[in-house]
């Protein structure tokens, strides 16, 4: 395990249920969200408050709408023809579906990491530098280099690539490619990081690294993760939302969802008695 991602002193380590300081502030507030693919309703009246600087996991069986919902949070569904959205998604109080919203700026604030790592066929350095360049975020060469290094460090991959920054990103292992994609997403300093099954294509060791990385990253970012893997949701998240047939069945502290869910349906799902 690389050591650079374990940094929290014990006293700083608290689960949300352990804290005395009250609930975390809401970063994303979703109100009455419906989503249609053509005539098919994929999400029905979803309302949820996603807290800042915590990890929120979406779980549920295939086709339950969890990935669709994730993609509504940075309007990634816009690129799919025939889709319709109703309701509100407020980030820091501003509705991202309000007409006139700058979607490019939105996606800069709400970064995304996908199931399959998708590095550009460029060097490791250029993969991370790309977003900084196209967004005009680098003041000069030195600044660009510093930001690339920072991002690679934040994604816990710096030590593994620092001596070969100009080699092709495609030569990295699957787990490294995924961390590179996380570095690429972090480079443009988003506030929110959406992760759609970020570890499902990785072996257990690479998965563990991603999970530890998620622990580390939430100090700086609000993280929302979709996962098929219930155990992963249990391990990494503070809050868990259970989706079923396009509905949000239950949302609450992860320890509650996995030890004493309020809904029978959630209990059936987490205990594997589903269907």
């Amino acid at each position: 395990m690389s050591t650079d991602i374990r940094m929290a002193p014990l006293s700083d380590i608290v689960r949300p249920s352990d804290r005395g300081s009250g609930p975390a502030p809401t970063k994303i507030a979703v109100k009455g969200l419906d989503f249609h693919y053509g005539s098919k309703r994929a999400l029905e009246n979803i309302s949820v408050d996603i807290p800042a600087n915590l990890v929120t996991a979406f779980i549920g069986p295939s086709g339950c709408g969890k990935s669709t919902f994730l993609r509504t949070l940075n309007r990634m569904n816009d690129i799919i023809p025939g889709t319709r959205v109703k309701g509100q998604v407020l980030i820091d109080g501003h509705d991202i579906y309000r007409p006139g919203t700058d979607v490019v700026a939105l996606r800069r604030r709400v970064g995304m990491v996908f199931q399959k790592s998708n590095p550009f066929p460029k060097s490791i350095f250029e993969n991370v530098a790309y977003g900084l360049r196209v967004n005009g975020l680098a003041r000069n060469r030195a600044h660009l280099q510093a930001r690339v290094e920072e991002s690679l460090k934040a994604a816990a991959i710096w030590d593994e690539v620092k001596d070969r920054l100009h080699e092709s990103a495609l030569a990295l292992s699957g787990g490294q490619q995924q961390r590179l994609c996380i570095a690429r997403a972090l480079a443009i300093e988003p506030e929110i990081l959406l992760m759609d099954e970020p570890a499902s294509a990785l072996d257990p060791i690479a998965t563990q690294r991603i999970e530890e990385l998620i622990y580390h990253l939430k100090a700086t970012y609000t993280i929302v993760i979709v996962t098929h893997n219930m155990q992963q949701a249990a391990r990494v998240s503070d809050q868990t939302a259970f989706f079923w047939l396009g509905r949000l069945v239950e949302f609450g502290p992860t320890d509650k969802i996995f030890t004493n869910p309020a809904e029978k349906l959630t209990e059936d799902y987490v205990t594997g008695r589903f269907g």
């Binding site: 929290a8 700083d12 800042a52 622990y215 249990a234 391990r235 320890d255 030890t259």
Partner: protein
């Protein structure tokens, strides 16, 4: 400082261990105080023991809840799984030791209403052994030290022997002078409670051996090599 991190699993385990040790320390303290109150005939100390089991009870609940969450959220395997299951059991044993300290203090409170039956020799010795067993069992837990845990199992016989000796000796006092029956019975009860504390320390030691080596030595402890 930005925000908090969810603990890494190993850090959680470390915290669990720390809390369990705290609980062990409290239990041991209370046994020591109860016996000291007997030897020094210190009535205020008896009352302090009787009124002071709040922290231990709180830890009992907290530790169980930590174990419960760790099992649910991390699905631990192998030595991690054994460590958490052992912690649940050790927690119960330590809480019982705390209760036995109360039982001892209750007997001491009654005993102090009478003149001393005799000079106390074996009971303080039993208390020393019981506390040492408890301490060693917890040290063995922290250090994952099987030989130390095995040593705790071996000491249990000494404690049992002393209890029998206390009983026999006090029986002679009671036969000679029926007015000593009431206080002597309390001393017998105290020795019985101390012997039970040794049994709980033995349970902890058995759990340590299970945690470290996955061997279940309960009910046939003699088969384990030191």
């Amino acid at each position: 400082m930005p925000e908090r991190l969810v603990p890494h699993f190993q850090e959680e385990l470390e915290q669990l261990k720390t809390r369990l040790l705290e609980m062990g320390g409290l239990a041991e303290d209370r046994v020591r105080s109860a016996v000291e109150a007997l030897v020094e005939r210190d009535a205020p100390l008896v009352e302090r023991v009787l009124g002071g089991d709040g922290p231990i009870n709180q830890l009992h609940i907290e530790i169980d809840s930590r174990c419960f969450k760790l099992l649910a959220l991390y699905q631990p395997m192998a030595v991690d799984l054994r460590a958490i299951v052992s912690a649940v059991k050790i927690n119960t044993d330590l809480e019982r030791v705390g209760d036995l300290a109360i039982n001892i203090a209750e007997a001491v409170r009654r005993y102090l209403r009478h003149a001393p039956v005799k000079e106390l020799i074996d009971i303080p010795r039993m208390a020393d052994i019981a506390q040492r067993m408890l301490r060693n069992a917890l040290d063995a837990y922290v250090r994952r030290d099987v030989p130390l845990a095995q040593g705790v199992l071996n000491e249990d016989d000494t404690l049992d022997g002393l209890k029998t000796q206390v009983f026999r000796e006090l029986l002679t006092y009671m036969l000679q002078d029926p007015s000593t029956i009431e206080p002597a019975l309390d001393l017998i009860l105290i020795s019985r409670h101390l012997e039970r504390i040794g049994d709980h320390a033995t349970n902890v030691a058995e759990d340590v051996i299970f945690m470290v080596s996955a061997r279940d030595v309960r009910h046939h402890a003699g088969e384990v090599e030191a």
